[in-house]
């Protein structure tokens, strides 16, 4: 059996961070019910990339909300609010990412929820915590990357700040939210009492930088400095760490014994025999390696490097990645299907349990798709 089987989660969250956590809980076996406003539903349904939609909701929404149910209710309508409170009484977990103050106004803050259900696990995601001058700022991923110092870690020294090209603050926060909720379940199993779990995008995007921040804190406040050669990959790591162009593509070299790597590639690096230079002179060294690596194909170099156990690999794009046999062999894709029979291909849970991958064919719901069933199961008496 899946570990969270039998647990009911009410998800009031919108967009990415909260719903990505709901998806993880669903894949681990929980029954996740999205509480959505009638007709329009969650805001992410209209947020598309490349104008891709499936049954009137964006592909983005479908990616994040598969394996969930939908209950449409208007939290500002007193009759609907009564129903929601009845649902809370039967639920194990509820999550939301409204800005501080919103659930208080509706009358569904943690204390209210506890009076309805003394064993409820109540999870909230904010942008910046609930106090201080930033508490009301919009909790948007790029803004969090920018404020947290993250944009100074990628790219090259002579470049402007380079953000991560994915919603990393949202996604890491969603991951931490799952951890907090699961820990709360363990706490509840011992105490029998409700638990409040709080995470914020800011703390999560800072946690991702725990190594860089700890260095900053103990190194006299020195800022991280990126390398300045194309393909620089880590502000704190020595040569050869980075990506290099070859005759027909790109190759990555991770950390390793620089002099040995020089020998294998037939680049004379003897003047860098002192290990400290591998960091201090990394741009110079990486230039020398770049010149050499350009002259042959990726496969040529990989043959010699991997034969010697040197940590190196190919740089693929999605097309090349998608055609790797391991994508199917490791079941990295799955097909989901909605109530109308429409199908789409997406990814799956990254966690394997007892030797099996966690799969589900259930696509994202339409707004209010499960109202009837939920009424019958939870609200009919």
């Amino acid at each position: 059996m899946k570990p969270l089987e039998g647990l009911v989660v009410l998800e009031f969250c919108q967009f990415l961070a909260g719903p990505s956590a709901g998806l993880k809980l669903a894949d681990l076996g929980a029954r996740v019910i999205k509480i959505e406003r009638p007709v329009k539903g969650e805001a992410c349904r209209q947020l598309s990339i490349k104008d891709l939609f499936v049954d009137e909701s964006s592909l983005l929404f479908h990616t994040i909300n598969r394996n969930k149910e939908s209950f449409a209710a208007d939290l500002k309508n007193p009759d609907d609010l009564v129903l929601i409170k009845k649902l809370i009484a039967k639920a194990d977990i509820m999550t939301h990412n409204f800005r501080p103050g919103v659930m208080e106004k509706i009358g569904l803050d943690f204390n209210e929820a506890l009076t309805i259900n003394p064993k409820i696990i109540y999870g909230t995601i904010t942008g910046y915590g609930t106090i201080g001058p930033w508490a009301k700022k919009p909790g948007q991923d790029l803004l969090l990357q920018s404020l947290s110092g993250l944009s100074w870690l990628s790219g090259r020294k002579s470049q402007e700040p380079v953000p991560f090209g994915l919603a990393v603050a949202d996604l890491m926060c969603g991951n931490h939210f799952v951890q907090g909720i699961l820990a709360a379940l363990l706490k509840r199993a011992k105490t029998g009492k409700g638990v409040l779990v709080e995470v914020s995008l800011l703390e999560s995007v800072l946690d991702v930088q725990f190594e860089a921040i700890t260095s900053f804190l103990n190194d006299g406040g020195q800022l991280p400095e990126r390398g300045d050669v194309k393909g620089s990959a880590h502000a704190f790591l020595s040569a050869p760490y980075g990506v290099y162009q070859t005759q027909d593509g790109y190759i990555s070299l991770a950390m390793g014994d620089l002099l040995f790597i020089g020998n294998v590639l037939e680049v004379d690096l003897s003047q860098y025999s002192d290990k400290h230079q591998w960091f201090a002179s990394r741009d110079e060294i990486r230039e020398l390696l770049s010149e050499k690596l350009k002259t042959q194909t990726t496969d040529h170099w990989l043959y010699f490097l991997q034969k010697e156990g040197i940590w190196s690999g190919k740089v693929l794009n999605y097309e090349e990645l998608g055609s790797q046999p391991f994508v199917n062999e490791l079941q990295l894709k799955q097909t989901v299907q909605n109530a109308a029979g429409e199908k789409l291909v997406t990814t799956r849970s990254p966690i394997q349990l007892d030797g099996a991958v966690l799969l589900s064919t259930k696509a994202a719901p339409k707004v209010g798709e499960d109202n009837l069933k939920i009424h019958e199961q939870f609200l009919s008496e």
Partner: protein
């Protein structure tokens, strides 16, 4: 009471992925014992970055391994392995990040540990799972970023592959392993059964890109294209990006172009009545030129009251001076057994109104041997 109080975790993992998971579990209240090789220990102890060595070991090690104990034992010796098994028999969780096959050779596979501890939660991180062609490849962060095409999402169009500048795949795999362990512990608490939890860096890197990979799968196989300048997301239109100002940088998320044109008094933008995705390079170009004419604060004071999603771009020095950062009390001071103390970050999760802090620094190699032997092995 911390949620994982009274849980015992025996951790064989090294470097970042596994140890970052056990750090989280330690902060949530578990007792984590690192199993290390006598003499050298976790390789991360000597993995120096930025030449920053703290109390004789790498800053990275100290960051990831605070709040843990260390048991140095040469478990390749049969008699030592027998001792270790006594400890494993008492564990709630046994975790490692060796390549597939290593724990089997040592005699500590899931089945072997299960034989001495039937309800154990056994957890492992690999690079690529048990795929026969991949299992012996090094599960290293940059190589996984490269293999899974993550490098084509950041930076500008002509930059070539741009890796994310920290070990993001390691951290994701660690986060997912912690989730799997916690879920399995919940099942153990409610149903009294053990589990075998497996995570690979490959699957974690796929999960991280679930939106863009799903888009690729359903988009006729079109590759992501980064903007020529100011790129922050290959799939998002203008203005999404970071822009240079007269004295720094400004981040602009979503926003209607005509609204921005009027707020910023940028007439050149008026030729774009809507946020056309195909014109994003042109729009960004005009914005980039215009935003350089004033200071960051000048723009923020216009845009923030109008509810445009924007922010300054800070470095650590600037961030640490902000009240919005200070109120989080995100740093903490920890102390090692020998009195050496250092500052680091804390757990990002808050439960029942309290942060999880701990003053316990990282362990010296084998510092807890005597106590652990007495408590679990000779007792």
């Amino acid at each position: 009471m911390k949620p994982l109080e009274d849980y015992l975790i025996i951790d064989f993992s090294q470097f970042l992925s596994g140890p970052s998971a056990s750090l989280r579990l330690a902060d949530l209240g578990a007792r984590v014992i690192k199993i290390e090789k006598p003499g050298t220990g976790d390789i991360c102890r000597t993995l120096y970055t930025s030449d920053l060595i703290m109390n004789g070991e790498s800053s990275v090690f100290h960051t990831i391994n605070r709040n843990k104990e260390s048991f140095a034992i040469d478990f390749k010796q049969p008699e030592e392995l027998e001792k270790l098994k006594k400890l494993l028999a008492k564990a709630d969780v046994v975790m490692h990040n060796f390549r597939p096959g290593v724990m089997e050779r040592i005699g500590l596979s899931y089945d072997a540990v299960k034989a001495i501890n039937p309800n154990v939660v056994y957890a492992s991180i690999s690079g690529f799972g048990h795929h026969p062609d991949l299992k012996d490849l090094p599960g290293q962060d940059l190589l996984l970023q490269s293999l899974t095409a993550l490098t084509w999402l950041s930076g500008n169009q002509e930059d070539g592959p741009v890796p994310m500048g920290l070990s993001i795949v390691d951290m994701l795999a660690g986060a997912h392993l912690a989730q799997g362990i916690l879920a399995a512990l919940y099942r153990k608490a409610t149903h009294n059964v053990g589990a075998n939890v497996q995570v690979s860096m490959l699957e974690s890197a796929f999960d991280f890109q679930f939106e863009t990979i799903t888009t690729f799968f359903n988009d006729g196989g079109e590759l992501p294209v980064r903007t020529k300048t100011n790129n922050a997301h290959a799939y998002l239109g203008a203005p999404y990006g970071i822009y240079k100002t007269k004295n720094g940088f400004l981040a602009l998320a979503m926003g209607s172009i005509p609204v921005l044109a009027s707020l910023l008094k940028c007439d050149a933008l008026l030729q774009f009545p809507e946020n056309k995705f195909t014109l994003r390079d042109e729009i960004k170009n005009i914005l980039a030129t215009h935003l350089q004419t004033q200071d960051t604060d000048f723009w923020l004071q216009i845009l923030e009251p109008a509810d445009i999603w924007c922010a300054g771009v800070l470095n650590y020095q600037q961030l640490f001076a902000e009240d919005g950062f200070k109120v989080l009390e995100f740093t903490q001071q920890v102390e090692m057994l020998d009195g050496y103390s250092y500052k680091t970050t804390r757990c990002p999760i808050k439960i029942d109104g309290a942060y999880f802090t701990s003053t316990k620094g990282s362990p010296k190699l084998g510092q807890d041997n005597e106590k652990i032997i007495k408590e679990f092995i000779t007792a």
